[in-house]
């Protein structure tokens, strides 16, 4: 196998044995990018020179006796809504077309300290608003399994890069499913940690009470490795939680005997593809055969997740995106006669239609006369959704559902129907509202496109999620398949 096809832990083993170098790995990844990127379009920026320079530095240090940690020498892609010092960071929006951050996001700093090689910044839905990466103001990323289909969104570039062998692992961000849904569409592992587990400092905000950074990887072991590297309290993020970080690799145990697993019936009904349902039920049966106790459970408030989310997330976004006004950074409209017009013109020129739509929705929901009916009401429904999960976790260790109602859809199929696009996040959204962790892993294929199994746990139960996901993975072969490009 080529170096670009291997997982991070496999690459690490070769580095430790001295059978390869960081430079060789990086060159393999860059060559792969050279070969497939014009078809996949995963990246906004590829850092060719910086990556090679860093790789050579790492090799020098290792030769001088430096320790080879789990991320040392591993090429990693970064979603373009995470600040990288000195490297263009656009959120795939025209309004940040020239923004070069003067600082690194905390999680970027962490992986750099761990010796990872930042290979480039990945394409996304503009400001993380979307479920297909079609809302990027720059380019359309293609799903490596079928180039006429979407990679999912909003972390579509990162998921596609990992699936195409253009990065060993990647950062994504997840506000309503934006790591997990592209993971399921691209046949990779994607995890949204518990809210507050990972620092949001340097993540360009969409919805501050929902956003989380997380890993996109080729297998569950790599996911645990990356989670170890990025978790922890950060003084610079007042919403990050001051709790110790366990060694998530210790959770990688092939054993689910006695674990109580609940299939959420409300997410297995109407609107879910028959092939997706079947694959999820097969996965549940597999876990049952391996010793888990599997039952059905209903969380009736979950069906209100999507409307609740589209009030709360858009309201928070309307506030977070006020800062893009052309004053301090980013695009500024030319020839505005006065400041007010500069604001109107800059934002008109700089934002794409979906971003404008959501700013409008959010502003409306917060405006005088509508605040109680929409925003306050949605916050109360959020409490009920959280309570539904709390009740379920009193009985079950983890909950299951499909990650997405379907496999990857064709490019262009949903762009003219925003509501249909929003509904594709029906299973992932409630997780963000409740702040709990969830992981998506591949559990089958339909029409040669991957199907994602969505596993949810209560707050700070990432170890249980990893254990269930790892057990399933060790007893199946889906994760060994690679997209043919």
């Amino acid at each position: 196998m080529e170096l670009f096809e291997l997982t991070s832990h496999e690459l690490h083993a070769l580095l430790v044995k001295g059978e390869t170098s960081s430079e060789e790995i990086t060159k393999s990844i860059l060559a792969r990018i050279g070969k497939v990127e014009d078809r996949v379009n995963a990246f906004m920026t590829v850092n060719v020179n910086e990556a090679l320079e860093k790789a050579r530095n790492i090799d020098d240090q290792v030769a001088k006796g430096a320790e080879i940690g789990p991320l040392t020498g591993i090429p990693l892609a970064i979603k373009d809504n995470m600040c990288t010092r000195g490297i263009l960071t656009t959120c795939s929006s025209k309004i940040l077309r020239n923004f070069v951050p003067p600082y690194n996001a905390t999680t970027v700093e962490m992986i750099l300290q761990a010796g990872a090689i930042p290979i480039g910044k990945t394409n996304m839905d503009e400001f993380a608003m979307g479920s297909s990466t079609e809302n990027s103001a720059y380019k359309t990323t293609k799903n490596p399994w079928n180039l006429s289909t979407v990679p999912g969104g909003s972390s579509g570039g990162s998921a596609a890069a990992v699936a195409a062998g253009e990065a060993a692992m990647a950062f994504g961000s997840d506000t309503g499913g934006s790591i997990r849904q592209p993971a399921s569409f691209c046949g990779v592992v994607g995890m949204k940690p518990t809210y507050g587990r990972v620092s949001r400092y340097g993540l360009i905000a969409f919805a501050s009470s929902l956003d989380q950074i997380g890993p996109l990887t080729k297998d569950v072991t790599d996911c645990a490795i990356m989670l170890n590297a990025i978790s922890g309290h950060d003084k610079k993020d007042s919403t990050s939680v001051d709790l110790p970080v366990p060694d998530y690799r210790k959770a990688l145990v092939d054993d689910v005997k006695g674990l109580k697993i609940g299939i959420i019936t409300d997410l297995m009904g109407e609107g879910i593809d028959e092939n997706v349902k079947k694959a999820v039920l097969d996965a549940a049966n597999k876990l049952k055969a391996l010793g888990a106790k599997v039952e059905e459970v209903s969380l009736p408030t979950l069906k209100f997740g999507v409307p609740t989310y589209y009030i709360l997330a858009t309201a928070e976004a309307s506030s977070n995106l006020e800062r893009y006004d052309g004053v301090k950074y980013g695009h500024r409209s030319d020839d505005s006669p006065d400041l007010l017009n500069m604001y109107y013109n800059t934002r008109r020129e700089g934002f794409g239609p979906e971003v404008k739509r959501r700013i409008m929705l959010g502003t409306y929901a917060l405006s005088a006369g509508y605040y109680d009916a929409y925003y306050l009401k949605a916050q109360k429904v959020r409490t009920l959704i959280k309570q539904d999960f709390d009740k379920a976790f009193a009985k079950f260790d983890v909950l299951l559902s499909p990650t997405s109602p379907s496999v990857a859809f064709k490019i262009g199929a949903k762009v003219d129907d925003p509501l249909s696009m929003y509904l594709s996040d029906i299973a992932t959204i409630p997780v963000n509202l409740a702040g709990i962790p969830a992981i998506s892993i591949t559990c089958g294929f339909s029409d040669d496109l991957p199907i994602g199994l969505h596993i949810m746990g209560k707050a700070f139960s990432e170890e249980k999620l990893l254990r269930v996901a790892f057990t399933y993975e060790q007893n199946t072969e889906w994760h060994k398949q690679r997209a043919k490009l």
Binding site: P102, G196, T301, P307, I311, R332, Y344, R347, R348, Y364
Partner: protein
Amino acid sequence: MAVTKKEVEHVAKLARLGLTENEKDIFTKQLSAILEYAEEIKKIDTGKVEPTSHAIPMKNVFREDITVPCPDIKDILANAPDERDDMFSVPRIMEQ
């Protein structure tokens, strides 16, 4: 619930978004459809329920009130569309 074009114009003004006439028409339709769907949540009884603004229980995260180093002004101004005398320069503010 139908959103009127006037409401769309009002909201666009609040959000400092310059919309074209075409965009106003499209948004009036789309926002109406989305908000009608969002009205679903009105069906739920939330009588005694407390609102959740923050999923993980946390309150009042403070730090010590001591001065810490700030980023360099040069770095901060590096992305400025226009700057003068260590300040961001903008078009004149006119009376509305």
